[in-house]
C-alpha cells in the first residue's frame, strides 16, 4: 500500500496535527498559563486554514479517499466557521464551572470537525461511516458540556440515543448495499445499482442516517430539545457546521453513488423538502425560547439547502456551498448575539427579554436584525442571493412546484423572523436588558459575520468561483 498517499490529505493531516498539539498543550500547560489555550486554538486553526488554501483533486488509498476541489473549499469554510464558534465560546469558557475543562471543548470540537472532513471526502462507505461517527459521538459530549446545569444532560441523552438509533439504521443500509452490490467503494457501486427493492431500502436507510444529522422532518425531533439544552455555542456549532458538512456529503453521495437511482431519491427528497420546510415553519411560529426557535429555523433552512441537492447538478452543488457559506455567516451572527446576551444576563433567552433591546444595545440589535433579514432572504443581503441561487438550481432542474411551495414558505418564515425584530425595535419595555459591551473575540466574530452578510451577496465573484469549481 502506498503510504505516501497520506501526505496528500492536507486538510485532514493538518487538522490532526492541530488536534495533537492542542492535546499536548492541554496536558502539559501549567495552570497559570492555561488562559493561553484560547488564542492558541484560534491561531492553530487559522494556520490549518493555510494548509488547505489551494483546492485540488486528491485520490488516495485506491479510491477510499477522494477529495474534490469544491470539497476542499467547503472544508475551508467549515474551518472558518469553527474558528468563529471558538471566538464566540470565549465568555462561556471563562465561567467558573467550565474554565477547568476548556481544553476538552477544543479537542472535542476539533475531532468532530475531523470526522466531517473525512465524511466530506470519503470514497468508501466505511470511511464515510467512521467520519459520521467521529462527527457524532464527541458531539454528544459537547452537548452535555454543562452537565450540571439546566437541560444540558437531558439534551445530551436525547442526542446520543437518537444518534445511536440513526447510526444503527444507517449501518443497516450500508450492509444492504454491500449485500446487493458486493462493494463499498463509491466508484464501483453505481454500475451495480439497478433499483431493486432492497437497494431502495438501502437508499432510504442511508438517507435517514444523514437526515438525522441534517434534522429533516420526521427525523428532526431531537433537534429542538437538544438545541435548547446544549450550551449556546454548541447549538451554534451543531446548527451550521455539522449541518453544512452533512448536506454536502448527502449531495455528493446521492449524485455520485446513487446516481442511477436519481428517479427514486428525487421523489423522496421532494416529499421531505415540503414537509420539512412547512412543519418547521409551523413550529417556529410558536416558539418563544430563542434557542428552540433557532432550532426550528435551522430545520427549515436545511429544507432549503435540500433544494440544491434535489437539483443534482453542478449548479446545485455550487449553490449548496454558497448557501452554506451565507448560512454560516447569518446563523452564527444570531447565535453570537443570543450567546452574548445569555452570558451577560445569566440566561435570558426568551423573546420577551429582547423587548426594547434597541434602546440599550443598538449595535447588537443591528447585527441581529441584519442576520435575521439575511436568514429570511431579504435583498440586498447575502441570504437573498443564496436562496435565489438555490431556487434557480432547483428551477432549472424542473421542480417548479417544489420551488413554489418553498417560496410560499419563505413568506411565513419572514413573519417569525420579523417577530424578533419587532420585539427588539418596537415592543415597549420598562426594564430592557442594560447596556453592555461584548468581549473583543465576540465582537470580531460578529464583525466577520456582518461583513459576510453584507458583502457576499454583492460580490458576484464568490458564486462564480464556486460554480466554476463544481463544474470540474
Amino acid at each position: 500500500m502506498d503510504l505516501i498517499a497520506i501526505l496528500h490529505m492536507h486538510a485532514e493531516l493538518s487538522l490532526t496535527a492541530v488536534f495533537i498539539l492542542m492535546f499536548l498543550l492541554d496536558l502539559f500547560l501549567p495552570t497559570p498559563q492555561r488562559h493561553r489555550l484560547r488564542p492558541m486554538a484560534c491561531i492553530l486553526l487559522a494556520l490549518q486554514l493555510l494548509a488547505n488554501l489551494w483546492p485540488e483533486e486528491v485520490i488516495a488509498f485506491g479510491g477510499m479517499y477522494h477529495s474534490t476541489p469544491i470539497a476542499s473549499v467547503l472544508k475551508s469554510v467549515l474551518t472558518v466557521g469553527t474558528l468563529l464558534v471558538f471566538l464566540q465560546a470565549d465568555t462561556w469558557l471563562q465561567r467558573e464551572d467550565t474554565r477547568y475543562k476548556q481544553g476538552e471543548f477544543y479537542l472535542l470540537t476539533l475531532s468532530t470537525l475531523l470526522g466531517m472532513f473525512f465524511m466530506i471526502s470519503a470514497g468508501h462507505f466505511l470511511l464515510f461511516f467512521l467520519g459520521l461517527e467521529l462527527a457524532t459521538v464527541p458531539m454528544a459530549c459537547l452537548v452535555t458540556f454543562d452537565k450540571y446545569k439546566g437541560h444540558s444532560a437531558e439534551a445530551g441523552a436525547k442526542f446520543i440515543l437518537s444518534a445511536l438509533f440513526s447510526s444503527g439504521i444507517f449501518l443497516y443500509g450500508i450492509s444492504m448495499i454491500y449485500g446487493t452490490t458486493g462493494t463499498l467503494y463509491f466508484d464501483d457501486i453505481p454500475s451495480r445499482l439497478v433499483g431493486t427493492p432492497l437497494q431502495i431500502l438501502a437508499l432510504v436507510f442511508f438517507f435517514s442516517g444523514l437526515a438525522f444529522k441534517l434534522s429533516l422532518v420526521p427525523f428532526h425531533l431531537w433537534t429542538a430539545d437538544t438545541y435548547q439544552g446544549a450550551p449556546t455555542t454548541v447549538s451554534a456549532y451543531l446548527s451550521v457546521i455539522s449541518k453544512g458538512a452533512a448536506a454536502f456529503a448527502l449531495m455528493a453521495v446521492l449524485t455520485k453513488v446513487f446516481g442511477p437511482m436519481a428517479g427514486q431519491w428525487s421523489q423522496m427528497l421532494c416529499l421531505v423538502i415540503v414537509t420539512t420546510i412547512t412543519i418547521a415553519n409551523l413550529f417556529a411560529i410558536r416558539q418563544n425560547n430563542l434557542k428552540r426557535f433557532m432550532a426550528f429555523s435551522s430545520i427549515s433552512q436545511a429544507g432549503y439547502i435540500l433544494l440544491a441537492v434535489l437539483a443534482g447538478t453542478p449548479q446545485g452543488m455550487a449553490s449548496l456551498v454558497y448557501y452554506i457559506i451565507v448560512y454560516i455567516a447569518a446563523n452564527l451572527a444570531v447565535f453570537g448575539v443570543i450567546n452574548a446576551i445569555e452570558q451577560h444576563t445569566h440566561g435570558q433567552i426568551e423573546r420577551e427579554d429582547y423587548n426594547g433591546l434597541y434602546r440599550t444595545n443598538p449595535k447588537l440589535t443591528m447585527v441581529m436584525t441584519l442576520a435575521l433579514f439575511s436568514l429570511a432572504g431579504i435583498p440586498p443581503f447575502a441570504g437573498f442571493f443564496s436562496k435565489f441561487f438555490v431556487f434557480m438550481a432547483a428551477f432549472h432542474s424542473g421542480y417548479y412546484l417544489i420551488v413554489f411551495i418553498a417560496l410560499v414558505n419563505t413568506i411565513i418564515s419572514l413573519y417569525y423572523y420579523l417577530l424578533i425584530v419587532k420585539a427588539m425595535f418596537i415592543q415597549p419595555n420598562e426594564q430592557p436588558i442594560g447596556h453592555f459591551r461584548t468581549t473583543v473575540p465576540m465582537r470580531i466574530s460578529l464583525l466577520v459575520c456582518v461583513a459576510g452578510i453584507l458583502v457576499l451577496g454583492i460580490l458576484s465573484g464568490v458564486y462564480q468561483l464556486l460554480n466554476d469549481m463544481s463544474l470540474l
Binding site: 432510504v204 420526521p218 425531533l221 421523489q267 416529499l271 415553519n281 413550529f283 411560529i285 413568506i411 411565513i412
Partner: protein, 637 residues
C-alpha cells in the same frame, strides 16, 4: 492610466468619512476634507485629460477608447453581463474636466456661502456623493453602469435639494425632483432592458442579430427612444421640466452644481453617448429629440422673460439652453461633421461653455442673495456700486450666454445655429429667434439686479434676525470661483474644441459661418438694446405698459403656462382617482384578506401538530422509523 480609479474613490471616501463623522467633526475640517478630495479629483481629471489627448490618435485618426478597468460584475449569459469599470474617450474625458472644475468651484464657494449653517458636514458629504455619482455616469463602460450611477445622482440630488429639510417648500421640491426624474427613469430602465435583451449586450456596441436582422426592426428605435425619456427627465425637457424650477429651493451653490454643469446635462451626455446608435438605428428619433428640444428652448425662454425670482430666471434659462444642446444633437443626420454631423460637436461644445458660464451665473446669484437676503428682483437694483466683482463677472456671463463675441457662448452657440441652418433654414431661424429672447431676458435680469432703482433699505428685510444693512461684496472664498469661472468664460471659446471632439472622432477645424455669426450677433445686440431701453432706467414705463397690454399672456407665462397644474390634474384627478382607488380597494379587501387567511390557517395547523414534539425519546424513535418506512413504501409502490 490606472490612477483614474481614484477619481471615483476619492469623493466616495470623503463621503464616507464626512457622512460617518457627521456632527462630531468641526465645520472647517469637514469642508477642508471635502474640498481637498475634490481638488485631488480635479487635478487627476486634468492629468487624465492632458495625458489622454497627448497620447495622440490611432492610425484611423481617432482618439482611442481606453478601459483602464472593466470587470464582470453580474453575468447573465456568456454574452450578456453587467460590467463595472472606467472608460475614457474624448467625451468622457471632457466631462471629467467640466464636472470636477465646477464641483471644485462649488466646494470652495460653499465655504463662504454655507458658513455657520447647521449641517455643514452633511452638506459636504452629500456634495461628495453627488460628484462621485456624476463622475460615475460619465466614465461608465456600459449602459447599465451608467444607470446605476444615474440613480445615485437622483438620490444625491434629492438629498441636496432637500438640504433644508425643515423647510416645507424644500421637502416638496426634493420629492418632486425625485419622483419626476424617477418616473422618467422608468422609461430609461425599460429601454435598457429591451436594448440588452435584443442587442445581447449592455455595452455601447450592440449586436442586433448576426446580420443585423433586428436593426431594421423598430426595436432599437424603441429602446433608444425610451432611453431618451430617461434623459429628458434628468435634462428637464418639456413636459418633464417641472421639477427644475422648484429645485431652486436647495442651497444656491447646489443649484450651480446640479443645474449648470452636471445633473441636467446628464441627458445630453446620454444622447451623445448613444449617438452612433441613434444615427445608425433611429435617425427619426433623433429628429424628434430636436423638435422636443426646440419647443423646450422656446417655452422656457418665454417663461424666463417674466419671472421675478432671479434663481427661477436662471432655472428657466438652463432649461432653454439644454434645449439648445438637444436640438444640436437632434439635427444631426450623419456621423460626418462635414455632412450633417456638426451638431454633435456643437452640442458638447455648448455643454462645456454653458457649464462654466451658467455656474458663474448661479454663483453670482448666490452672492447677490447672500447680500440682500432675498431671491426677488424687487429687493435688488443698483447693486453694481456695492458688489463690483459680482457685477462684472455676472456681466461677462450674461454676454456669454447672449452669444456676444468673444465670450465662449458665442462660439458654441454659433456652431449650434450653423448646424441648425444646415438641417433646415426654418429650424435655423427658430433657434436664432430663441437666442434673441435669451439675450433679452438675461439682460432684463442683469438690469433688474445691478441697475434700476434701489429699493428702500430702511425697512427690515427679515423681521428681527437680519437688520437692514447696505449690501456688500462677498468674501474671497466666494468671489474667487466667480473670477476663475469668468476667466474661463472669456477664453474657452478659443480652444480648438473640434480637434478634440467630433462626431466621427476625426479632427475637425471649427470655421465660423460668417453669415450666421453676424446675424446672431446683430440679433443679440438688438435684444440687448431693447432690454436696455425697457429695463435699464429707474422707472420702467414700457415694461409696465407691455405687461398691462398683454396681461393675459403675462399672467400665463408668469405661472409657467400652468404646466404644474396640468400635471397635478393628471396625477390627482385621473391617476389617483381612476386607477389608484380601485387598486387600493382590491389590495385592502382581496389581497390583505388572503394573507389574513393564510396567517389564520398557519396558526391553526400549528396548533394541530404540536403533539408531535412531545419530549419523549422513545416516541422520537418511532417517528424516525415510521418516516423511514413510509419513504420506502412511497418508493416501492
Amino acid at each position: 492610466m490606472e490612477y483614474t480609479i481614484l477619481i471615483l474613490i476619492l469623493p466616495f471616501l470623503s463621503f464616507l468619512i464626512l457622512g460617518l463623522a457627521d456632527m462630531r467633526m468641526k465645520n472647517g475640517l469637514a469642508g477642508a476634507i471635502g474640498t481637498a478630495s475634490l481638488a485631488g479629483v480635479t487635478l487627476l481629471s486634468y492629468l487624465t485629460a492632458f495625458q489622454y489627448f497627448m497620447r495622440g490618435r490611432t492610425a484611423e485618426g481617432v482618439f482611442p477608447t481606453l478601459m483602464p478597468y472593466n470587470f464582470e460584475w453580474l453575468p447573465f449569459t456568456t454574452q450578456l453581463h453587467i460590467d463595472m469599470g472606467i472608460m475614457l474617450d474624448p467625451i468622457s474625458v471632457m466631462m471629467l474636466v467640466v464636472i470636477s472644475t465646477v464641483s471644485l468651484m462649488v466646494h470652495i464657494y460653499s465655504f463662504g456661502y454655507m458658513k455657520g449653517e447647521k449641517g455643514f458636514q452633511r452638506y459636504y458629504a452629500f456634495l461628495s456623493l453627488f460628484t462621485m455619482s456624476m463622475l460615475g455616469i460619465v466614465v461608465a463602460t456600459n449602459i447599465f453602469q451608467m444607470y446605476v450611477f444615474w440613480e445615485l445622482v437622483g438620490v444625491s440630488s434629492y438629498l441636496l435639494i432637500g438640504f433644508y429639510y425643515t423647510k416645507k417648500e424644500a421637502i416638496a421640491a426634493s420629492k418632486k425632483a425625485f419622483i419626476v426624474t424617477r418616473f422618467a427613469d422608468l422609461g430609461f430602465l425599460i429601454g435598457i432592458l429591451i436594448y440588452g435583451y435584443y442587442g445581447q449586450t449592455f455595452g455601447f456596441t450592440p449586436n442586433f442579430g448576426p446580420h443585423g436582422e433586428l436593426a431594421s426592426n423598430t426595436l432599437p428605435a424603441l429602446a433608444l427612444g425610451l432611453m431618451f425619456i430617461g434623459g429628458a427627465g434628468k435634462s428637464a425637457m418639456f413636459p418633464l421640466h417641472i421639477w427644475l424650477p422648484d429645485a431652486m429651493e436647495g442651497p444656491t451653490p447646489v443649484s450651480a452644481l446640479i443645474h449648470a454643469a452636471t445633473m441636467v446635462v446628464a441627458g445630453v451626455y446620454l444622447v451623445a453617448r448613444m449617438f452612433p446608435l441613434f444615427i445608425g438605428y433611429a435617425p427619426e428619433v433623433l429628429h424628434w429629440i430636436a423638435y422636443i428640444g426646440a419647443f423646450t428652448a422656446f417655452y422656457a425662454a418665454s417663461v424666463a422673460c417674466v419671472q421675478s425670482d432671479i434663481k427661477r430666471v436662471l432655472a428657466f434659462s438652463t432649461i432653454s439652453q439644454i434645449g439648445f444642446m438637444m436640438v444640436a444633437l437632434g439635427v444631426c443626420t450623419s456621423t460626418d461633421p462635414h455632412e450633417g454631423g456638426l451638431g454633435y460637436m456643437a452640442s458638447l461644445f455648448h455643454l462645456f461653455t454653458h457649464a462654466m458660464f451658467k455656474a458663474l451665473l448661479f454663483l453670482g446669484a448666490g452672492c447677490i442673495i447672500h447680500a440682500v437676503h432675498s431671491n426677488e428682483m424687487s429687493a435688488m437694483g443698483g447693486l453694481r456700486k456695492y458688489m463690483p466683482v459680482t457685477h462684472w463677472t455676472f456681466l461677462i456671463a450674461c454676454l456669454a450666454i447672449s452669444g456676444i463675441c468673444p465670450f465662449s457662448g458665442f462660439f458654441s452657440k454659433d456652431e449650434i445655429l450653423t448646424a441648425c441652418f444646415r438641417f433646415s433654414p426654418a429650424m435655423g431661424w427658430i433657434m436664432t429667434g430663441i437666442a434673441a429672447i435669451t439675450a433679452f431676458y438675461m439682460f432684463r435680469l442683469y438690469y433688474g439686479i445691478f441697475w434700476g432703482a434701489e429699493p428702500d433699505r430702511q425697512l427690515p428685510a427679515n423681521e428681527g434676525t437680519h437688520t437692514a444693512h447696505t449690501p456688500h461684496e462677498a468674501p474671497l472664498s466666494m468671489t474667487f470661483p466667480l473670477l476663475f469661472l469668468a476667466a474661463v468664460t472669456c477664453v474657452a471659446g478659443f480652444m480648438p474644441f473640434g480637434h478634440l471632439i467630433s462626431s466621427d472622432g476625426q479632427s475637425y477645424t471649427i470655421q465660423l459661418d460668417k453669415q450666421v455669426a453676424i446675424t446672431s450677433i446683430l440679433i443679440a445686440i438688438v435684444s440687448i438694446a431693447l432690454a436696455t431701453w425697457i429695463y435699464a432706467g429707474k422707472k420702467q414705463p414700457v415694461a409696465d405698459r407691455l405687461a398691462r397690454t398683454f396681461q393675459r399672456m403675462h399672467t400665463a407665462a408668469y405661472h409657467r403656462f400652468y404646466m404644474d397644474e396640468v400635471w397635478l390634474f393628471v396625477t390627482k384627478k385621473i391617476i389617483f382617482r381612476c386607477i389608484s382607488t380601485p387598486i387600493a380597494w382590491w389590495d385592502r379587501h382581496v389581497i390583505d384578506q388572503f394573507f389574513n387567511f393564510t396567517a389564520w390557517s398557519t396558526h391553526a395547523a400549528s396548533d394541530e401538530i404540536r403533539d408531535m414534539q412531545s419530549g419523549n425519546v422513545q416516541q422520537y424513535s418511532i417517528w424516525f422509523l415510521a418516516g423511514a418506512l413510509l419513504l420506502t413504501l412511497l418508493l416501492l409502490v
